[in-house]
C-alpha cells in the first residue's frame, strides 16, 4: 500500500509539474502500465488505469490506485500532459518492489516526429520539498565542508548515529 502510494505520488506529481502549462482538457493519454519493465515479467496489467486522468493533477497521492491487488514490478507511466515542448510523460520503474528509476519519456507529436523533451531546470516551490526533511537519508550532500566544518555538519551527526548503531 505504501509502495503504491509512493508510485501514485510520483505520477501525480508529474502531473502537477506540468499543470501550470496545461490548458483545458489536454490530457492525451491515460495512465498505461507498459510491459517494458524490469525483467521480472510481471507488469501491472490495467489495474492502475483510470487514476486521476480526468484532472491529471489532484488525485492519486493517497493511494487511490489501491483497489486492486498488490503492486507489482514494472514500468508505470504517468499521465501525459501538454507542455510548450510537446506532450510530456514521466514513468516510475519498480523492480523487486523498490523504486529503481524515474524516467522522463519522450513522446512523438502528431506528425510522428520525435520531440526532444527539455531537460531545462524550472522553478520548484519550497513547500513542494519541505516534507523531505524528515526523510530517512543514507548520507548528506552539501557544498564542500572543511574538516572543521564537518564537526558542525549533519553528516557528522549521521556518522555518530552510524557508529552508535
Amino acid at each position: 500500500m505504501r509502495r503504491r502510494a509512493a508510485v501514485a505520488s510520483i505520477l501525480a506529481s508529474a502531473g502537477v509539474i506540468l499543470a501550470g502549462v496545461q490548458v483545458g482538457a489536454a490530457v492525451t493519454a491515460a495512465r498505461t502500465p507498459t510491459a517494458t519493465g524490469t525483467g521480472s515479467g510481471s507488469s501491472n496489467g490495467g489495474s492502475t488505469s483510470g487514476t486521476g486522468t480526468s484532472s491529471g493533477t489532484s488525485s492519486g497521492s493517497t493511494g487511490s490506485t489501491g483497489s486492486t491487488g498488490a503492486a507489482k514490478d514494472g514500468t508505470f507511466n504517468g499521465t501525459t500532459v501538454q507542455t510548450p515542448f510537446g506532450p510530456m510523460q514521466v514513468a516510475a520503474v519498480i523492480s523487486g518492489g523498490k523504486l529503481t528509476d524515474v524516467k522522463v519519456l519522450q513522446r512523438t507529436n502528431q506528425g510522428g516526429r520525435s520531440i526532444q523533451i527539455s531537460n531545462q531546470a524550472d522553478p520548484m516551490l519550497r513547500n513542494e520539498v519541505l516534507q523531505a526533511q524528515s526523510a530517512n537519508v543514507s548520507t548528506i550532500g552539501g557544498a564542500t565542508y572543511t574538516s572543521e566544518g564537518y564537526l558542525q555538519s549533519l553528516q557528522a551527526a549521521l556518522d555518530q548515529a552510524g557508529f552508535a548503531g
Binding site: R2, A5, A6, S9, I10, S13, A14, I17, S61, V90, A92, V93, K98, L99, T100, D101, V102, K103, V104, I117, S118, N119, Q120, A121, D122, P123, M124, L125, R126, E128, V129, L130, Q131, A132, Q133, S134, A135, N136, V137, S138, T139, I140, G141, G142, A143, T144, Y145, T146, S147, G149, Y150, Q152, S153, L154, Q155, A156, L158, D159, G162, F163
Partner: protein
C-alpha cells in the same frame, strides 16, 4: 561497516559491506591524491608545477591525466569550469577530489557502499534496508537542516554539490556581481561529471545551467541567493518521491 577519516582538508565517510582491506585501499587512494595534488603541501607535485620548478611535461602521468581530463571539461563547459586560477596557475582542486572518489569507487567494486567526501556522494548497490541510497541535500541557508532528499536510482550513482558560500574561494564566478546560485547539486552517472557541472553552474550561472542540462543527461537542483529553487524534470520527480516517503513514514 562504517568509517570516517580526514583527508584533503575534509572528511570521508564510508559505509560499506566489505572488509578492512577495502577501507585501507580507499584511504590509500585519497592519501596519494592529497600528496600529489594539494597546493597547500609545499612538497606536493602540483605545488612544484604551480611554482614553475617542475615542467608540466615532466610531471607524473597521473598528474598529466588529471590535468588533461580537467582541460576536456573546460571545453565541455565553455570555460565555466577551468583548471586554472585567475593568475594562470594550474589548480586541480576542482577536480582532484572527484577524481579520487572515482578511483576509490573502482577499488570498492560492485558491492553495496556509500562514499561521502566533504558532501559529495558516490554509491554502488543499495542501502542495508534494500532501498536505494538516499542523499539528503543541505539547505544552504541553514546547514543544520535538509532542503530535501534525493534517491540515487537508474544508474545515477553520483551526487555532487557546489556552493558559493562555503569554501567559496575554490570557485571563480565569472560575473562581477557574484554567483546567481549559492548552491548547485548535480546527480549523474559519474562523480567527476557531476562535480564539474555543479562547479561550472555555480561559476557560470543560468547560462551554464541551461547549456549543460540541454546537452547532458544529468539532474540538477539549484538554490539562488533568495532561497528559490530550480529543478530539472527528473529531479522534481525524485524529490516528489522522497517527500512521499517521508509522509508515509510519519
Amino acid at each position: 561497516m562504517h568509517a570516517t577519516f580526514e583527508t584533503m582538508g575534509t572528511v570521508v565517510s564510508l559505509e560499506w559491506s566489505g572488509d578492512e582491506q577495502a577501507l585501507d585501499a580507499v584511504r590509500g587512494i585519497f592519501e596519494d591524491a592529497d600528496h600529489r595534488f594539494s597546493l597547500y603541501r609545499p612538497d606536493s607535485e602540483l605545488r612544484q608545477v604551480a611554482d614553475g620548478s617542475l615542467e608540466l611535461l615532466d610531471a607524473s602521468s597521473e598528474l598529466r591525466e588529471v590535468y588533461a581530463t580537467a582541460l576536456g571539461w573546460r571545453g565541455e563547459t565553455g570555460g565555466a569550469f577551468t583548471p586554472h586560477r585567475p593568475d594562470g596557475a594550474v589548480d586541480l582542486n576542482g577536480i582532484v577530489k572527484a577524481w579520487a572518489m572515482a578511483e576509490a569507487g573502482r577499488a570498492l567494486g560492485d558491492g553495496d557502499w556509500c562514499l561521502n567526501v566533504g558532501g559529495d556522494v558516490l554509491v554502488s548497490g543499495q542501502a542495508a534496508s534494500g532501498a536505494p541510497w538516499v542523499v539528503g541535500i543541505v539547505d544552504p541557508a541553514d546547514r543544520t537542516t535538509l532542503l530535501t532528499a534525493v534517491p540515487l536510482v537508474g544508474g545515477r550513482r553520483a551526487a555532487a554539490t557546489s556552493g558559493s558560500a562555503e569554501r567559496g574561494d575554490h570557485i571563480w564566478t565569472r560575473g562581477r556581481e557574484g554567483a546567481e546560485f549559492v548552491q548547485v547539486t548535480v546527480v549523474a552517472d559519474d562523480i567527476v561529471k557531476a562535480d564539474v557541472f555543479a562547479t561550472a553552474t555555480v561559476s557560470g550561472g543560468t547560462i551554464t545551467l541551461d547549456d549543460v542540462t540541454g546537452r547532458f543527461n544529468i539532474d540538477v537542483l539549484t538554490v539562488d541567493g533568495e532561497g528559490s529553487l530550480r529543478v530539472t524534470p527528473r529531479m522534481r520527480a525524485l524529490i516528489a518521491h522522497s517527500v512521499e516517503q517521508a509522509a508515509v513514514a510519519r
